[in-house]
């Protein structure tokens, strides 16, 4: 017979477990440090390589130069103009796409005739990138703000519709039975069962829609606009003001992160009942 034994005879069991716990905590701290270190490391490396001209500083200006450009643009006010118009387009287009998407998705999820009628249309239109429809959108809505809003709305609409409908249809039968057994009318069923039950999956669609909205706005502004972050990136590149182009890119990264945090916060507020909430 062989025993599994601990070597430290002189330590008490509490001490052994406490040491183990502290080891685990140290490991955890190391992981956190890595997360913070990685972007700093990359930025430092970039700065060095660019300053020493190992990489071409015309195309990859050092981060400090980009930061300087950023503050310069804030001072002249150009950044605020580009930023505000882009954000307005994103938020407006997002709402214009998400709200009808939620409504149609709920109707499709709840009523089979709606589902069977709209499903083929949604499925057929979904694979077409809205950007490819930009010429048609411009023909219909002109080159003004409306065409940008519609482009974003179009790309937000589809993931929201599909996820909302799936959310309603995936509500477990037992909840439908309970509602029916307790005499829920169609209005009660909608507000007490269908909507809250569909919300988690619906939110995934909204999150996807938000990510797509950001992609779309940049591309749309590159193609047909004279303001906005996408326009800033494209004209900076064309005029060879590469630092300003990088400012645009970093802003997009920042807003992508910011919006997903915002939605995650909203989700936790709206869905306090979820297992992981």
């Amino acid at each position: 017979m062989e025993f599994v034994k601990r070597a430290d005879r002189e330590k008490s069991p509490e001490e052994i477990e406490r040491d183990e716990w502290e080891r685990q905590k140290a490991k955890q701290r190391l992981k956190q440090a890595m997360t913070i270190a990685s972007p700093i490391f990359i930025l430092l490396l970039w700065e060095m390589l660019s300053r020493t001209e190992i990489i071409d500083s015309r195309f990859f200006p050092p981060p400090t130069a980009i930061v300087a450009a950023f503050f310069n643009m804030i001072q002249t006010g150009t950044l605020f103009d580009h930023l505000s118009i882009s954000l307005l387009r994103i938020v407006g287009g997002f709402l214009l796409g998400a709200i009808p998407g939620i409504v149609l998705g709920l109707l499709m999820g709840m009523y089979a005739p709606f589902r069977h009628f709209f499903q083929p249309l949604v499925m057929a239109l979904m694979p077409i990138p809205t950007l490819a429809l930009l010429p048609i959108i411009i023909i219909i809505f002109g080159i003004g703000e409306m065409s940008k809003l519609v482009t974003i709305a179009g790309s937000v609409f589809f993931p929201v519709v599909i996820n909302t409908a799936a959310g309603v249809m995936n509500i477990e039968q037992i909840y439908v039975d309970v509602a029916k057994n307790y005499g829920a009318g169609s209005k009660d069923f909608f507000f007490q069962v269908a909507l809250p039950g569909a919300l988690p999956v619906m939110f995934e669609g909204i999150q996807m829609g938000q990510a797509i909205a950001l992609l779309t706005i940049v591309a749309a502004e590159m193609m047909g606009a004279n303001e906005g972050i996408g326009y800033l990136i494209w004209t900076s590149y064309k005029a060879f003001v590469i630092t300003e182009m990088f400012v645009g890119l970093i802003l997009i990264s920042f807003f992508g992160y910011f919006f997903s945090l915002l939605l995650r916060w909203l989700q936790a507020k709206l869905l306090p009942w979820r297992e992981n909430g």
Partner: protein, 262 residues
């Protein structure tokens, strides 16, 4: 005992038809359940117990035959069901779950609040009123389900193996709690179970079902004194005898359906 008939089933048959195959779930079920009676329906799995309950719950319609539930009052809902596990809405708080039926009936808010509080107290969940079901144990969730059904004050209560997923300890505790609330309200209860112990503990009458097609094979009266307690039921010689009888019946049923299947 000349109590009125509360539930009457006449030749209820249900056939399920799917892809060219038909299965007779229950066949010619006739039974009468009296007002205030606690009746357990027991049988091997797949004998159509749940189908029968779903018909009474208005979630299925019988293929043939008819049933009636007599009404005391026009305002009361006809029936409320306590479902197997997971019947509690995860997105509603404990109190909102208990109030669900009352809200569906559009009763005055003050009344709903008072009645919800009363039944939350009854099942010992008053301090959990504002919590969500994710924070509750399985036994607590079933208490919510029971409180919701009783609070709804229906003509009859239907229970579909509500304690099947609970551990032994919790099961006994909830059985006694259920009997306490039932003694107070004197509701007519039809309770499905596959546990003979549970049926003997709870019921005035046990309806034994046979399998494929489901029929009522025996009707046993359990006239043990109430209130009942686990220890007392467990030590009763008579109950032991009843247990063996029901056990034998179920054994032969299971054997028979196994032979049919091969």
């Amino acid at each position: 005992m000349s109590r009125q008939t509360k539930i009457k089933l006449e030749n209820v048959t249900k056939v399920f038809y799917k892809r060219g195959n038909s299965v007779t779930a229950i066949q010619n079920i006739s039974a009468e359940i009296k007002d205030g009676e606690f009746v357990c329906l027991i049988g091997p799995s797949g004998c159509g117990k749940t189908t029968l309950l779903k018909i009474l719950a208005g979630l299925e319609t019988p293929s043939l035959g008819r049933y009636s539930i007599s009404r005391d009052s026009k305002e009361k809902p006809l029936q409320s069901m306590v479902f197997q596990e997971k019947g509690v809405f995860p997105w509603l708080t404990v109190a909102e779950n208990v109030a669900f039926g009352l809200k569906m009936q559009k009763l005055p808010r003050a009344y709903v609040k008072e009645r919800t509080a009363y039944f939350l107290e009854k099942v010992g969940l008053a301090q959990f009123a504002k919590r969500y079901p994710k924070e509750l144990s399985g036994g607590m969730k079933q208490r919510v389900s029971i409180a919701r059904a009783f609070a709804n004050d229906p003509e009859i209560l239907l229970m579909d193996e509500p304690f099947a997923a609970l551990d032994e300890q919790n099961k006994y505790i909830l059985q006694e709690e259920l009997l306490n609330i039932w003694m107070e309200t004197k509701k007519t209860v039809l309770f499905i179970t596959h546990s003979i112990d549970e049926a003997l503990m709870l019921s005035d009458r046990i309806l034994l079902m046979s399998a494929q097609p489901g029929k009522i094979a025996a009707d046993k009266t359990i006239d043990l004194p109430r209130p009942r307690h686990v220890e007392q039921i467990r030590s009763d010689q008579n109950v032991a005898k009843q247990f063996v009888e029901i056990w034998k019946h179920l054994q032969t049923e299971v054997q028979r359906s196994r032979l049919q299947a091969t």
